[in-house]
């Protein structure tokens, strides 16, 4: 090889390398830029969402009026039921009552304007300083919002994770099974039963409790464990599993048919793509077709559903938990809303918002990993 040729080749190699380096550098810049923009966008979304929650939870400050009225009512009842306070001379009693009202208002922070408090709520929320509740205590008696949520979180996660994971994977497998047997008896059965999901889980729960707890007396009415809770860990777990049978069943009954129907339809659409027909024509096994040509392109959707499912576990379900007397986060949030306990409401919201934002952010990258058609920060095809 001549020197010129060698030089040309070297030049060409260098050019390729430079090209590759430039391309890599460009990709990195693009990804970084995209990441930054995405993070800022998501942060702004979280800020707006949380501040809206603060405004809504406080009815734009009207909750202060409600709280002031409630304080006066509760103070009057306290005095009415206290024979000693009742017997005080009117002016002394007035003084005492006004002082009690002042102290209560101070405790709720009503001595500060709402606008100021709303900014403080926002700042604390964004920095994940969940702070202290106004009226609620955690199960162990703490006013720290962190503990109010954390103490209930395991109970919520264990129930809804079990139920929803079973539901999710069962639905996927049933759907795949049905998509292979379109028009079969089982397919028609699921299609027929799909509307049964219009009833919520707690609705099925009531019937299950009546049948299996009240009538047959084979399963507990509700609660997380037996009363009193067993001392032994193994017995505790067994008791918890027994108490989970009805709620998990209720969730499955309420959703399995519709979820299976939904996924089955989704898979059917993908199963009729040309490339699937081509694969069939090539004589690939149905298992291979399912794995390579149906599941793979639908993976972003499956992952999205799964990720959102994991977030939804955090929310709990107030009515469902009430029906099964399950000590979950849903009841906490429900109670907080009823009590206008802003810090707890805001904490629940901000946690959910952050989880959602992080999930959405990560999903963008996951899509790129599982689907070669997706290019992060790219034109047109980027998500």
């Amino acid at each position: 090889m001549s020197e010129e040729l060698q030089a040309l080749q070297k030049s060409s190699d260098t050019s390729d390398l430079a090209q590759k380096t430039k391309s890599a550098s460009s990709s990195l810049t693009r990804i970084l830029k995209y990441t930054l923009v995405r993070l800022v966008t998501l942060f702004i979304t979280v800020v707006v969402g949380v501040y809206l929650t603060i405004l809504i939870a406080n009815m734009g400050g009207y909750v202060d009026e409600i709280r002031r009225g409630e304080i006066r009512e509760s103070v009057s009842l306290r005095i009415m039921n206290d024979p000693v306070l009742k017997n005080l001379p009117p002016e002394v009693r007035f003084e005492r009552m006004n002082e009690m009202i002042r102290l209560e208002e101070k405790r709720y922070g009503l001595d500060q304007p709402f606008a100021l408090r709303s900014v403080r709520y926002l700042r604390n929320a964004l920095t994940l300083d969940l702070g202290r509740s106004q009226t609620m205590s955690s199960d162990s008696g703490s006013r720290q919002v962190r503990l109010i949520i954390l103490e209930r979180l395991p109970a919520t996660l264990v129930l809804f994770a079990t139920a929803d994971l079973i539901l999710f994977f069962s639905a996927i497998f049933i759907a795949l099974f049905l998509s292979r047997r379109y028009g079969s008896f089982w397919d028609k059965l699921v299609v027929t039963l799909a509307p049964s999901s219009s009833a919520p889980g707690w609705f099925y729960g009531i019937f299950l409790i009546l049948i299996f707890a009240a009538l047959l007396r084979v399963l507990p009415f509700g609660g997380m464990v037996g009363v009193p809770p067993p001392d032994n860990t193994l017995e505790y777990i067994l008791s918890m599993l027994k108490h989970m049978i009805l709620p998990v069943t209720a969730i499955l009954l309420s959703s399995i048919a519709s979820q299976a129907f939904s996924w089955r339809t989704f898979f059917l659409i993908y199963s009729s793509e040309d490339y699937v027909e081509m694969a069939k024509a090539k004589g690939l096994t149905s298992r291979d077709i399912e794995r390579r040509y149906v599941l793979r392109p639908t993976l972003p959707n499956i992952i999205t559903n799964f990720a959102l499912l994991l977030i939804s576990l955090w929310a709990g379900a107030p009515i469902f938990e009430t029906v099964f007397n399950w000590p979950g986060l849903g009841r906490v949030l429900f109670q907080a809303i009823g009590l206008y306990d802003t810090p707890v409401i805001v904490a629940s919201t901000v946690l959910f918002a952050y989880l959602l934002a992080v999930t959405v952010f990560l999903l963008d990258f996951l899509y790129a990993l599982v689907d070669p058609r997706v290019k992060i920060g790219g034109q047109g095809s980027s998500r």
Partner: protein
């Protein structure tokens, strides 16, 4: 085709299964037989000899433990109490199948009540104490609209427009009694003045024509005109705004009230609101803005109140409640003066009080700035093999005696499962912890008392005191009912100079009366309490003996937390202390073994029993020994924890919790410190009563206790706190085997002895003739002992419902009385159906019993 058929069959089966499932719960309910009737109100109308009508209204009450059962068992009847959470609907189902034994919450749901009554497995207790009313806005509106309720005659007339019997039967499903006054029908004041009350009730009985007539006249007088059947003012229809609470039956009551007002020509704007939504309008709002005319109010009393005389001042005058609506009240001078006298107990004899009540009952209805509708009746369901003493106002959860009396019938031992809507709502600490009824119920079982409240009369009984002497200032209308207390009167009661009147938080010493005041002090009441000789044998749950230090600590804490100079100062407690010092005059320890304490106070009650101060080491929210309170004080001093929610908020620390949560680790640290230092808190004072040896033993006991049970909750009650499961919502209490009383000590409170009354007499009475009626007062078919009856009164009503005579029945024998209507009395009757009503007021229970007998008066 085959597949289609299969699918059709499957669909049918699916629908069938849903239908069957839907039927399941009702079948469960229907399979039960009609059960034992525990409490019921029976109205029987039977024709006798064509012209005689008998109307019997009687109450039959749960039969539990008729007589104390001999036993050698100490403390509680049962071994374990388990408290858990449950809603009322689910609880009833679980009670039926034996998953629960008691649902301690007072429920007011009529449908559920019927289900409980229909179940052979269930019994129930009844309690009173909550009541509903219509709160009128009596203010002139600034926007020129006419407010009819500025006129007291219109407010009064609305009484005739309200069919309280309809509300009781049709809206409340029988779980209520009609109410006309600011006194509760189940409490002593109603029984005392029942003749006055019944006469007024007859006068204000439902009469819409009369209401319409008066309202029409008054409205026209105010310049309004009835145009096309609708009231208008200045050409504009008069629209009445009713704030209707939506959480309970008040929603239907509000609708009913609206309908009644529409029936006489008013336009009604029904505004449905929850408590939170309504509160800013009626409590905070300016009544002159005219944002409402009527609010459907509700109130609750948590214990049997023996003196409700001050209710008239509270509910009808601007004197006692500093909110805008109350400040718009303008009672007549006469009404205001009488209400003030009753508020301040400004009378010297009970006869004088009676005269005041006669006036105030009438004047309050004439004012009617507040129109009472019903006294609500609540129930607490339980298994029918369970017995328990309950409070007539507070129900089971509010009873001090429930822990000492609850048992399975005829059985010793066992576990009673009790459910409430919530449990462990707030942190437990005795000084300023949770005051939720759901938490106070288990707390009460862990504490003992100097005096116990009689659940049926509100009087006090000695639990840990031997006797008491009360000296009252001459002229105070105080009486005595029970023999454990003596009552004397003195022209003046001087407070000894060496009695303690206040607390020096800096030097941690008591301030004597002579140090605090330059002048000698007097008090309205002096109570001397004698404790039993074996008092110091009583032990706390950790094994420590009760000691003088515990009493002293409780006394000091009552002052120290409210003193600004104190290391544990709390603004909230300062408020409580200020209220206390407004009437407290001094306390003196006369002797420590046996313990004798004198207390001097200006606050007084009508009953000598309620004027006794015991200083038992119970704090506002539970029991406390000097050592666990001393340990907690260390944490409070360091601002590591705070007793009250308010201070915890200010200091941004945990609200102290003796039984669970992050507080425990903090408290454990201070326990170690206290034990290492052999701490005697408030040593300058406590050191005189607590020895170093006692302190050593106490700290060792508390260390062991925490190591065993994992909490710091100590009491001397019949149960100790065994385990807490915060997330699971369960509390376990175990029987305290060291409790010093026999289990049957309070068995006599197994049931309220509500009298049953029957009347017999002629069905036809000639006007102007003398006639005699026989009255039979029984309890469980046995004659009601005369010694247990305060009085048996009769009221004679004519055909128009007007009261023509009243008086006392004459005792013939135990449970047998006669009513003699003289010729003068019958002369006052009109021809037609007349009614003789009997009111029996027992001493041992505050609820009076009524019976009526109708006859025909002929010329």
């Amino acid at each position: 085709m085959k597949t289609k058929l299969t699918l059709n069959i499957l669909s049918v089966l699916l629908i069938l299964s849903v239908v069957l499932a839907a039927c399941a719960p009702q079948e469960v309910i229907r399979t039960v037989e009609v059960g034992k009737e525990v409490i019921t109100t029976v109205e029987v109308e039977t024709e006798v000899e064509v012209i005689k009508t008998v109307e019997v209204e009687k109450e039959v009450v749960i039969m539990v433990t008729p007589t104390p059962q001999p036993t050698t068992r100490m403390g509680a009847w049962v071994d374990t109490l388990i408290f858990t959470e449950q809603g009322s609907d689910a609880a009833v189902t679980q009670l039926k199948v034996g998953e629960l034994d008691i649902y301690a919450y007072s429920v007011g749901n009529a449908t559920l009540f019927q289900a409980v009554k229909d179940s052979p497995e269930l019994a129930y207790t009844n309690s009173y104490g909550s009541y509903n009313e219509l709160t009128f806005n009596p203010a002139e509106f600034t926007d020129g609209r006419l407010n009819p309720f500025t006129n007291p005659k219109i407010r009064e007339a609305v009484n005739w427009l309200m069919d309280r019997d309809y509300i009781v039967q049709e809206i409340m499903g029988g779980l209520a009694v009609p109410k006309f006054f600011g006194v509760t029908a189940a409490f002593p004041d109603y029984a005392r003045y029942v003749d006055v009350a019944r006469a007024l009730e007859a006068y204000y009985a439902y009469n819409p024509e009369k209401a319409k007539e008066i309202i029409t006249a008054e409205m026209e007088g105010m310049g309004a005109a009835l145009s096309g059947g609708v009231w208008a003012f200045n050409g504009e229809p008069i629209t009445l705004i009713i704030l209707i609470r939506t959480e309970d039956e008040r929603r239907i009551i509000g609708d009913y009230v609206g309908t009644q007002l529409e029936s006489i020509g008013f336009t009604v704007d029904r505004q449905y609101k929850t408590s939170s939504e309504a509160s800013p309008i009626w409590v905070r709002g300016n009544p002159t803005d005219g944002l409402f005319h009527i609010y459907t109010g509700g109130w609750i009393t948590t214990a049997v109140a023996r003196n409700q005389g001050d209710n008239f001042s509270f509910f009808y005058t601007p004197r006692d409640y500093p909110i805008p609506l109350w400040q718009s009240y303008t009672p007549s001078a006469e009404f205001d003066a009488v209400a003030l006298k009753l508020r301040n107990n400004d009378y010297t004899t009970l006869d004088e009080r009676r005269e005041l009540f006669e006036q105030v009952l009438a004047l309050s209805v004439q004012d009617s700035v507040r129109l009472w509708l019903v006294d609500r009746l609540s129930f607490s369901p339980m298994r029918n093999n369970v017995t328990v003493a309950y409070d007539l106002a507070g129900g089971i959860s509010g009873s001090q005696l429930y822990g000492l009396t609850v048992r399975f019938t005829g059985q010793e031992g066992g576990t009673v499962k009790i459910a409430q809507p919530q449990i462990l709502v707030d942190p437990w600490n005795p000084v300023a912890g949770s005051n939720w009824i759901y938490d106070m119920m288990p707390i009460r079982a862990t504490q003992d008392y100097g005096l116990l409240s009689d659940p049926y009369t509100g009087l006090a009984w000695p639990q840990r005191i031997e006797k008491a002497e009360v000296v009252a200032k001459e002229g105070l209308p105080i009486g005595v009912s029970l023999d454990w207390v003596t009552l004397e009167f003195a022209p003046t009661i001087e407070v000894p100079g060496d009695a303690w009147a206040d607390w020096d938080a800096v030097n941690q010493k008591w301030i004597t009366v002579s140090e605090k005041f330059a002048e000698p002090q007097t008090a309205n009441i002096k109570s001397t309490v004698y404790y039993p000789a074996d008092l110091w044998d009583i032990t706390w749950h950790d094994g420590s003996n009760l000691s003088m230090g515990d009493f002293m600590m409780a006394m000091i804490m009552g002052f120290d937390t409210g003193k600004e100079e104190s290391a544990i100062y709390d603004e909230v407690q300062a408020e409580t202390l200020a209220a206390f010092l407004a009437h407290f005059k001094g306390v003196k320890i006369v002797s420590t073994d046996p313990l004798v304490i004198e207390t001097y106070d200006d606050n007084w009650q009508l009953d000598a029993e309620l004027n006794v101060s015991t200083w038992w080491p119970n704090y506002a929210y539970g029991p406390g020994a000097w050592h666990n309170i001393g340990m907690a004080n260390l944490a409070e001093t360091d601002k590591a924890l705070a007793y009250s929610a308010d201070k915890a908020e200010v200091e941004q620390v945990e609200w102290m919790n003796f039984i669970s949560g992050p507080s425990l680790e903090v408290l454990k640290g201070y326990l170690d410190t206290a034990a290492a230092e052999n701490l005697i808190p408030y040593a300058p004072t406590m050191g005189e009563y607590v020895t170093a040896d006692e302190a050593t033993a106490r700290w060792a006991n508390l260390v062991d206790w925490y190591a065993t049970y994992g909490h710091f909750w100590l009491g001397t009650g019949a149960f100790y706190l065994y385990k807490v499961f915060p997330v699971e919502g369960t509390i376990m209490l175990q029987r305290n085997p060291e409790f010093p009383d026999l289990a049957n000590k309070w068995d006599r409170f197994g049931e309220p002895a509500i009298a049953e009354v029957d009347i017999d007499g002629p069905g036809q009475v000639t006007i102007g003739s003398e006639v005699t009626f026989d009255v039979y007062v029984t309890f469980k078919d046995q004659p009601y002992p005369t010694k247990d009856i305060n009085e048996v009164k009769f009221l004679l009503f004519d055909a128009a419902g007007a009261l023509v005579a009243s008086g006392a029945a004459v005792e013939v024998a135990d449970g047998q009385y006669q009513v003699v209507l003289t010729a003068e009395m019958t002369q006052a009757l009109q021809a037609g159906a007349a009614k003789l009503e009997i009111a029996v007021s027992p001493i041992v229970v505050s609820i009076p019993t009524f019976a009526a007998f109708e006859f025909v008066a002929v010329p």
